[in-house]
């Protein structure tokens, strides 16, 4: 049991990322409100960033601001940090695009409920 607990503590960031991903995913599937769907999408994004950033960390090393010797064994891995930066920018852009689409849908149908929008669209097509 203590082995299991120890590994849970050792992998705390990855486990947190997976749980956050699960929360975001279940809400993405179950929420009817489109705004809430976008929020859960953002929660999923954040879990991925947490996972990537935790993969770059190395125990006992410092952030890659090279002030002393340029020896790779002193600093953490800079690549996941750069990937997270890219991810955040793309996430912001995609969220803005989604929200703009939702605003247009609201203007047309007067609701942000996904089922109602589908129903109204079907009715319109008939």
């Amino acid at each position: 049991m203590s082995d299991f607990l120890q590994s849970v503590i050792a992998y705390r960031f990855e486990i947190g990322a997976v749980i956050l991903f699960g929360i975001g995913f279940i809400n993405l599937l179950l929420q009817k409100n489109l705004i809430k769907k976008i929020i859960s999408f953002n929660v999923m994004d954040s879990s991925i960033f947490l996972f990537l950033a935790s993969q770059g960390f190395i125990e006992g090393r410092i952030a890659p601001i090279i002030t002393g010797a340029n020896d790779a064994s002193l600093y953490i891995n800079p690549i996941p940090t750069g990937l997270v930066l890219t991810g955040i920018v793309v996430s912001v852009s995609v969220s803005a695009f989604f929200l703009a689409l939702v605003q247009r849908l609201y203007k047309k149908y007067g609701t942000v409920n996904f089922d109602e929008i589908i129903m109204l669209a079907k009715k319109e097509a008939e």
């Binding site: 599937l29 993969q55 190395i58 601001i65 340029n70 020896d71 703009a100 409920n113 109602e116």
Partner: protein
């Protein structure tokens, strides 16, 4: 005793004794067109209800299975924080060991994203640019997508903005906004020396622009930042980035000297193109952040 300059403020302090002219003038109730009756119709049939229940059960099942599989995988990953992690391979080593002399940037992350992988960052800036373009297509008000009711609502909001000048808010914002801008510029200009860079500094400056626009209204904002400024700044910054990096890639790929001095590491004017590229990225991000706010708030920049 009350000088003319402060009479508004004294009126505001006195509050109840002052005459309230425009109190209920602007309140306008908007009712969503057909929400109520639509909601009843959605879950009316038995078939739809059955589908809903089965959908929810299967969604929960899929999610639980996915999380279980991912958790199982997590426990088989290399130990958190170990140096033998396959992610820290020879690429990271090279960036850390040769980065300082090859790019001149003290901050290895800035050296990586704006020198070794500058093309990737150009893609990021383009993604932001395209995103603001798409939001503009969807939300920009022009003669084709504006109705009479929306027009009157817009006019109402303008009137409210002109009427409600909150003196406390405006004084505080006048104190805070220069500090925000100073901090944003500091973060951008120190991107190659310390944590920060174009994206974070640009976001800070965008927040300052939004705060100013919120507290002083559209007219004050448009006196120095209109859609023309927005277009000019974003396109110029993006073109500048593309031209500079294309030059450096072209020369580098053909084994020629670029003639760009790297400077002494740690000085503010060092690390070649990284400083210029950081400024370009910062300008794009600041304009984009304000553009998103402005388009969502009133469909115009």
């Amino acid at each position: 005793m009350a000088s003319k300059k402060h009479s508004r403020f004294i009126d505001w302090v006195n509050g109840d004794t002052a005459e309230k002219v425009h109190e209920y003038k602007f309140i306008q109730k908007t009712v969503p067109p057909h929400s109520e009756q639509a909601h009843d119709e959605v879950i009316s049939t038995r078939k739809a209800r059955l589908f809903n229940i089965s959908y929810e059960i299967s969604a929960v099942l899929v999610c639980v299975i996915l999380v279980a599989v991912l958790l199982f995988t997590v426990f088989n990953l290399p130990l958190f924080g170990s140096a033998g992690n396959p992610a820290s391979n020879e690429v990271a080593e090279r960036y850390l060991e040769k980065g300082l002399e090859e790019t001149g940037a003290v901050n290895a992350v800035a050296g990586m994203i704006l020198d070794y992988r500058a093309f990737d960052t150009f893609g990021e800036s383009s993604v932001l640019f395209i995103a603001v373009g798409c939001v503009m297509i969807l939300l920009m008000r022009d003669k084709n997508n504006i109705s009479a009711t929306e027009d009157s609502l817009e006019e109402n909001e303008r009137l409210i903005e002109i009427e409600t000048n909150d003196p406390i808010l405006q004084k505080i914002v006048l104190l805070i906004v220069p500090c925000i801008f100073l901090f944003g510029i500091y973060v951008i200009l120190n991107g190659h020396l310390s944590p920060g860079g174009g994206f974070s500094g640009g976001a800070i400056m965008g927040a300052g622009l939004i705060l100013f626009a919120v507290s002083f209204g559209i007219d004050a904002m448009q006196s120095f930042f209109s859609i023309k400024t927005f277009k000019a700044i974003t396109t110029t910054a993006l073109m500048c980035y593309a031209t500079l990096k294309a030059y450096s890639f072209f020369m580098g790929a053909n084994g020629l000297e670029t003639g760009i001095p790297l400077g002494t590491p740690g000085a503010i004017l060092s690390s070649g193109l990284i400083l210029v590229l950081d400024i370009c990225v910062g300008l794009i991000v600041a304009c984009t952040m304000y553009g998103f706010y402005s388009l969502f708030a009133r469909g115009d920049i």
